[in-house]
Amino acid sequence: MRVATALLALCLTAAPAALGAAQADPIGEAEAAFEEGRHEDAERLYRAALESGRLAPPGLARVHLRLAELAALGSTGAADRHARFALALDPSLALPETIAIDARPTRAARVVLEISGDDAPIGVRVADAPDGLVRVLEVRGAGFERTLSWDGEAREVDPPAEARPIEVRALDAHGNLVAQAGRAAPPPEPEPEPGPTPEATAGEDTPAIESPWFWVGVGLVVVGVAVAIALSATGTRYLLDAPGIR
């Protein structure tokens, strides 16, 4: 039992830590490849990071800047587009000499909310974003969610009063975060349930595992889970085959 407990504890602590390390720097490998001059690998890795949909400024700006630099080594069309996206995300970025931009933006792309009253519709728009950078606006409030497509025209949302305040996230075509505004109210904290009084708990000298009530509880849980699994498996299950053109 001790070994099993130790293994479980190890899994619960080591796995998230490893996952966190891998997610902490999604473009680290790409950066290393770029620095080492492995341009094909770097481009593939930057694109994979972009398509992962997990980036946000400034990482997203960095990826667009690198893709612009890599594209400049080949064709200038895509380089210009990536460079404009990078500067819209971070106007302070220094562009390499290989990339020329007509007009450098002075402000970063941002979400603008126009709130005129507690129950009036809320205007939502994205300012200073080049065409194609933002594709989707995600609007969230308490119990309220909307996904709006963004084509450059201001939109309106009308969340109920209890759903306000709202948060709006502007996402690119892959789901990466470009900008956000507002703040959704945190969900209400549940009332803390009164815990057992110290007198009601098992005596400190007797480990819970040695109490017969502990094993009665375990038994009831096992039987309950078994019945739930079995009931969910009864009746007819439908398996939909692969759709085919016939």
């Binding site: 949909g53 594709r135 989707v136 909307r146 996904t147 709006l148 497509s149 963004w150 075509a173 892959h174 789901g175 038994g219 096992v222 039987v223 889970v225 078994a226 019945v227 699994i229 079995a230 009931l231 498996a233 009864t234 009746g235 007819t236 299950r237 439908y238 398996l239 939909l240 085959d241 692969a242 759709p243 085919g244 053109i245 016939r246």
Partner: protein
């Protein structure tokens, strides 16, 4: 513990399994075979929970507009002729729709079938009819090869 295991096995033994084929039927050619437009690139298949209401229109399905609960969506190349298995699906009433798209994600053929799985009788058939809807992915993006991505995104 043994009693619980026995109970599980006994009750689980009551379950039956029914496989439903999913047939997408385009218009017929003179020889009786499927007649697909030459521009057709990919098929997008959408499965939506629909306890009430009708099938989405072609424009709604193409733009991934909200219509019931989207349970499954996939897209496969016309050249392959077949997608991947949809898999286990709870009983109830479902709308299964299919869009045949060209490379720019315009919709050439569309069909939708409302069916209650308990009454499907072994197969769900979707009859595809010609439509003409220019490039439409809603809030998703066309990849230039007939696929809108991300596939599962539902647009306002």
């Amino acid at each position: 513990m043994r009693a619980a295991l026995l109970l599980t096995l006994l009750l689980a033994g009551c379950a039956t399994e029914e496989t439903l084929t999913v047939e997408l039927r385009p218009p017929r050619a003179a020889d009786g075979g499927p007649a697909l437009p030459i521009e057709a690139e990919r098929v997008e298949v959408r499965l939506v929970r629909k306890e009430l209401g009708e099938c989405p229109t072609a424009a709604e399905a193409a733009a991934s507009a909200p219509s019931g609960t989207l349970a499954h969506v996939q897209s496969f190349p016309i050249a392959e002729g077949m997608g991947r298995a949809i898999g286990e699906t709870p009983s109830g009433r479902w709308a299964l729709s299919a869009l045949v798209r060209d490379a720019s994600c315009g919709v050439l053929l569309y069909g939708c079938t409302l069916t209650r799985l308990e009454d499907a009788g072994g197969a769900i058939v979707v009859e595809l009819e010609p439509v003409s809807i220019p490039e439409t992915c809603g809030c998703r993006e066309c990849d230039g090869a007939g696929a809108c991505g991300p596939e599962e995104r539902v647009c306002e």
